[in-house]
């Protein structure tokens, strides 16, 4: 009881302080400094129409590499903490008929939609992170529908590694051609796609990197789901 009252008094102080601080930040007014530079130069410098994608992949590509690394470490940590000698799925009943039939029919369309989201990341809202999450959702649906479904571990783990290696390789090619890591060599040195800004084949390496990020996010979230579903089986002898 005392703990709750103390917590509420503390929360009121923190809330008052936050509201006081935010009253100096006007809502809905133009506060852009760096954003203005990005918006004015995004079409010439990167070729992408979607400015968010250009900031994520091109201007701040190194940060995104770090974030993908954090995702990889979290996924590895889940796998390491839940490691047991023998793990199996322990679900006792299948999904209903509607779920099983619907998941079989909808699976290719969900995968196609995820691929569409990350391939068109430089033109439409979306990109590698939501596209990868959509693909992981498709595998999650298969796990819920069938009681002994498991992903192909021999296929998934090399794909996950190759996507990460591909990201670094694209950056290293930029280091070799241009002057810095993750230099956009397709757009700036080769000059491909300058005439069709706003169509699919433009924006330099953004579609390539976003495809790699989509594959990596999808396989890693699927790996997390797989590690959390399978439980240890104890021998009864």
């Amino acid at each position: 009881m005392v703990k709750r009252i103390l917590a509420i008094i503390m929360l009121l102080i923190v809330g008052f302080w936050m509201a006081n601080a935010l009253s100096g930040v006007p809502f809905g007014e133009d506060k852009m400094l760096v954003g203005k530079y990005y918006l004015e130069n995004v079409k010439e410098q990167t070729g992408a129409v979607n400015a968010v994608t250009a900031v994520v992949v091109n201007y701040r590509g190194f940060d995104t590499l770090g974030e993908v690394t954090v995702l990889f470490i979290a996924s590895t940590g889940v796998g390491a903490l839940l490691w047991r000698k023998k793990k199996e799925r322990t679900a006792k009943s299948e999904g209903s008929v509607v779920l099983r039939t619907g998941s079989k029919i909808l699976l290719p369309f969900i995968m196609l939609f995820g691929a569409y989201i990350f391939i068109h990341g430089h033109l439409t809202p979306g990109g590698g992170f939501p596209g990868g999450a959509t693909i992981a959702t498709a595998f999650l649906m298969l796990y819920l529908a069938f009681k002994d479904y498991e992903i192909e571990h021999k296929v998934f783990e090399p794909i996950e590694g190759l996507a990460g290696v591909g990201y670094v390789t694209v950056g290293l090619i930029g280091l070799a051609i241009g002057s810095y890591f993750l230099f956009d060599w397709i757009w700036q040195t080769w000059g491909w796609g300058h005439e069709n800004i706003g169509r699919l084949l433009s924006a330099g390496f953004i579609p390539i990197i976003y495809t790699l990020i989509g594959i990596k996010v999808g396989t890693e979230l699927t790996g997390i789901v797989d590690n959390m579903v399978r439980e240890e089986v104890k021998d009864n002898d």
């Binding site: 009881m1 939501p130 959702t137 997390i224 789901v225 959390m228």
Partner: protein, 93 residues
């Protein structure tokens, strides 16, 4: 007050209400569903704030993946939160 503003007020109110319920419900499965509702309403607010990228990501992650991960964890642990027994939420305060 035009109608979009009413919708914004209603969505923020429902979002805060479902956050309170998600924290106060003793059944953890219901709490996770409340958390998912918070994510979905936040996704609608992101769309109103002209951030369609973030709205899509929040809808895919917050609605599906986050809830699924929590539910798998609840399946492997326990479902009910064991607070002080024999009292409703108004007395537990």
């Amino acid at each position: 007050m035009n109608c979009i503003v009413c919708i914004e007020y209603i969505i923020v109110a429902v979002m805060v209400l479902s956050a309170i319920f998600a924290v106060e419900w003793g059944d953890l499965l219901a709490a996770v569903v409340g958390m998912t509702a918070v994510s979905l309403f936040a996704s609608v607010l992101f769309f109103f704030l002209q951030a369609p990228d973030v709205a899509m990501t929040e809808a895919a992650i917050g609605a599906a993946m986050s809830a699924a991960v929590f539910i798998f964890a609840i399946k492997r642990t326990q479902r009910y939160e064991s607070e002080e027994e024999g009292a409703g939420w108004w007395l537990r305060w």
